[in-house]
Amino acid sequence: MALRRIISRMRATVDRLVFRVKGVEPAPIVLGQRRIFVLPTRSGLSYMMALLTMLIASINYNLSLGYALVFLLAGVAVVSIVHAFRNLLQLSIGPGRAEPVFAGESARFRLLVSNDRNRRRPALRLVAAGDRPGDGFDVAARDTHAHTLLRPTSRRGQLALGRVVIETTYPLGLIRAWSILMPDAHCLVYPAPEPLPPPLPANANAGPGRRQAESGDDDFAGLRTHDRADSPRHVAWKVVARDGPMLTKRFSGLAGSDLVLDWSTLPASLDVERRLSRLCAWILAADSQGRAFALQLPGVRIGAAAGSQHVQACLARLALYRENANAPG
């Protein structure tokens, strides 16, 4: 474990000093010549060895055309360095949307790779740190390609995509050109739902304490489609900023008659994560039954509502429960 930590710290240092990675970069990331690196691939090395052997044979047998052939092939290899470099140069990469997932599922990060050149750029590959290179893709002339990177998730919270390598071995597979990116891409990871949760809690405080489920300003109760009459203060700007639709935040007063999924009623033997897992499972169960529910977490209360927006808001609360303050919500 300690060794792995040392290696990852060393890698970060190398990234910073050699590959000029300076933390998360604002979009779009445009690949300038100073951040593109080239080195021969393994087949490039065997190509070099073959040429060296051919050169020695040419010297030994005094083959003038042998020299010429070796020099031509060496020239092709050198030129392919420039072509590989050019295939990445001025490429711009921006983060796309990543839909939230449950922990344990694969997060699907979308990166938008744009080519502002009049020629297509073939055989590009995007590789996330620690992954094996997947299939290559092409970006047509003056076009944008959306590439999806799958990342494993293990814990809830805000998952940053982290270090991504864009690489190409175009044109001949002898040279690999690459650049290391830190796109500003995040994926919200909900807690994993408990596999076999107990049934939804019976409604504890049904009865007179119940208030009208009328609209109020007290508690956030989910989102609904925007109406022109709605107050701009209630527009869910965060959704809009993520290229989402115009939505209005719905608030309601206490809806005691509804199902309340309450942190504090859970058995004390459960730790934080297992509580969140159970709440998550309950939210999904309630949603599948079409029941409205409220969520009560320490310090947070979300009023009763139903619908996918409400569910997502609740799940997001669970995902970010006591997460780092700097993680954007």
């Binding site: 010549q33 010297i59 005094n62 083959l63 052939l69 020099f71 031509l72 055989a123």
Partner: protein
């Protein structure tokens, strides 16, 4: 299918590889044994079938394994070993053909491409002419496209060929720079295998009926001579090869004559300076014009007046020589040598002895004996032919009395036998006679078909005198070459047909080109490199000079290439271009447009910063915004060009 449609096809890497392999192996077909050529052709056909119809299912691996083993055994049986040049090339060819059936990963295709590069190189061991160079260039293109098609799988054949061609064209400057400035080392670096040099056609050290007429059908070039002044007349164009003194009744052999660093003769008479370019023939004979002045480096002067190289001529060799054709040769010879040149095997050619006796009994001196025997050849209605009938045990008898048809070796052999029978020391000299000046570059070309045999007789006090009995029987052979000497209806090689004048003209052009190629490309060696560097102004160039020159040139080439890579392509839309010019102009005045800024916001910021130019700026940005975001304007292009003019006129000082 039309070519344009083929260009749009997607061709998988395996098919490109097949094309590479076929193109690489095809020129080897000539040099390899027949069974190997057939074997490879069979495997290529099978591969073509599999590319078309998919791999065979049953027993494929077993068949391939058996084929590999049997090919290995066949190579061992044919060549006797696995090591060496020829068996190596044969094994590589077999391996490359079989490799195509075991392509499981991209790596296998790459390995096969590298193998074909080796075979491409092996081709140059036999042949480095221009067509082979062109073939190798095409092979390199297809090999490059094969590698490319592994990466750029979604491109069509036309795009792949274009990219491959671009790579090759951009690599050419590197080829030229490296070829000129890469420090040349004279090989070999270590001992070469014994079979490194193929037996090439040319004279052999012996002569028997048929040995020279075989050569006469080959128009391959034996040597070239570039004369400083006018070339010697046809009767002096005797290029001396092995001198044959020993006769066993059928074949003539050379006797080791001994050699020295300086010639045994004193040169006199007119001199001819020339540069001899000798094609390799794997023998030490330099085939110089009779006879060479003293002072040739790396050469020995044989006692039989041949000029010999110290090592066999294994690559094309150039020598600056001076010939004195009228030098008297060997006026004083040891008695043993003369005795050897009188010997005849007992029991052969009895009728010839009788004839000689009859002809020369009354001759007063050796000179008149020679003249009488020559008269016999002149008057004997002998026919000069490339296809003489076969001769039996008494070859000279049969030639003189029965067939009367022969080639130069028959005439020379019969004449020397007759002279020896008459008591005059005589011997056969082989070599080349003649040569044709190429009108394109003025270089005299001597071909294998000019191979010739003549005689030398020795007279007391005068030494060895050249006598050409073929010339006596058929004088046109010497003045007009083989083509002129043959009767009109005789068999003759294609190139000697009188009607094919234009073909011969083309051949002249081609051979002049080949000569330049030989001289400048194939003959570029450490010595030439040094001289070229000196001409560039480098005094005493050594490997450091070359290294610096190479480094500098490659840096310049690389900078040029990276400059090309970083060229920003101009947008096709003139409006985009105009706007880019505008933004760049203001960026120079420290007012760059922010990426998120639209034209009107930008204009607002600019007018605040540059109030003096506010109206112009507002106008320009207004026109741009109108054209960009307004309704489509039919005069878009003209207006955009006009805007660009305005932007260029905008003076912000």
């Amino acid at each position: 299918m039309r070519p344009a449609e083929i260009g749009r096809l997607r061709i998988p890497a395996r098919v490109w590889l097949f094309a590479t392999v076929t193109l690489t192996l095809a020129p080897h077909a000539m040099a390899q044994p027949m069974w190997l050529t057939l074997f490879c052709a069979l495997l290529l056909c099978w591969q073509a079938y599999e590319l078309h119809a998919g791999p065979l299912k049953r027993a494929r691996r077993l068949v391939i394994l058996l084929l590999a083993i049997s090919a290995g055994i066949a190579v061992k049986l044919h060549f006797g070993q696995f090591f060496g040049k020829d068996p190596g090339v044969a094994l590589l060819a077999v391996l490359l053909c079989l490799k195509q059936f075991e392509l499981n990963a991209d790596r296998d295709i790459r390995a096969a491409v590298l193998l074909s590069f080796f075979l491409q190189l092996a081709l140059f061991l036999n042949d480095q002419t221009l067509p082979v160079a062109g073939l190798a260039l095409t092979g390199s293109l297809i090999a490059t496209v094969t590698l490319l098609s592994l990466q750029d799988v979604r491109a069509n054949a036309g795009q792949q060929l274009r990219t491959g061609g671009l790579l090759l064209v951009q690599a050419l400057p590197f080829l030229i720079v490296l070829f000129i400035a890469f420090p040349r080392i004279e090989g070999p670096l270590w001992g070469l295998p014994n079979d490194a040099f193929r037996a090439t056609s040319g004279l052999s050290g012996t002569m028997e009926p048929g040995s020279i007429s075989d050569l006469s059908e080959s128009s391959a070039i034996a040597l070239r001579a570039a004369f400083a002044g006018p070339p010697p007349p046809a009767r002096m164009r005797y290029w001396r090869g092995p001198v044959l003194s020993q006769f066993d009744g059928r074949s003539w052999r050379a006797v080791a004559a001994g050699s020295a660093a300086a010639p045994r003769y004193v040169t006199t008479g007119p001199a001819f300076d020339y540069v001899l370019t000798l094609e390799p023939h794997n023998r030490p004979w330099l085939l110089a014009l009779d006879v060479t002045a003293a002072g040739v480096e790396h050469a020995r002067y044989a006692n039989d007046f041949q000029l010999l190289a110290t090592t066999p001529v294994r690559e094309r060799r150039r020598l600056a020589l001076r010939a004195y054709p009228e030098t008297p040769l060997g006026p004083v010879e040891p008695a043993g040598l003369l005795r050897m040149n009188l010997q005849l095997p007992a029991g052969f050619n009895p009728r010839t002895s009788e004839l000689v006796d009859e002809l020369t009994r009354t001759a007063p001196d050796p000179e008149s004996k020679v003249a009488r025997v020559l008269d016999h050849f002149r008057g004997g209605s002998f026919i000069y032919t490339l296809r003489p009938p076969l001769l039996g045990r008494h070859s000279v008898d049969e030639f003189l009395f029965e067939t009367r048809r022969g080639f130069c070796e028959h005439f020379a052999s019969a004449f020397v036998v007759m002279m020896r029978a008459a008591g005059v020391p005589a011997r056969v000299v082989t070599g080349y006679q003649g040569g044709e000046v190429n009108p394109v570059d003025g270089v005299m070309v001597v071909r294998q078909s000019d191979a010739h045999a003549w005689a030398e007789v020795w007279h007391e006090g005068r030494g060895w005198i050249r006598i050409d009995p073929t010339a006596a029987a058929n004088p046109t052979r010497i003045d007009g070459g083989l083509a002129a000497a043959l009767p009109d209806d005789a068999f003759r090689p294609l190139m000697m047909w009188p009607a094919l004048e234009w073909l011969r003209d083309m051949r002249h052009q081609w051979e002049a080109l080949s000569n330049a190629w030989n001289e400048w490309v194939l003959g570029y060696n450490p010595e030439r490199q040094r001289r070229l560097m000196e001409r560039f102004g480098f005094e005493q160039p050594d490997w450091r000079t070359l290294g610096a020159l190479l480094g500098g040139a490659i840096t310049i080439l690389l900078l040029g290439l990276f400059g090309w890579a970083m060229l920003k392509e101009r947008s096709a839309d003139p409006l985009d271009r105009a706007w880019a010019v505008f933004c760049a102009k203001l960026a120079r005045h420290a007012l760059p447009r922010h990426p998120w800024e639209g034209p009107l916001d930008y204009a607002q910021r600019l007018t605040q910063a540059l109030p003096r130019h506010a109206s112009r700026i507002r106008h320009i940005t207004g026109v741009y915004a109108n054209l960009r975001y307004g309704p489509p304007n039919p005069k878009h292009v003209q207006l955009a060009r006009k805007l660009l003019q305005e932007i260029k006129r905008l003076d912000l000082k």
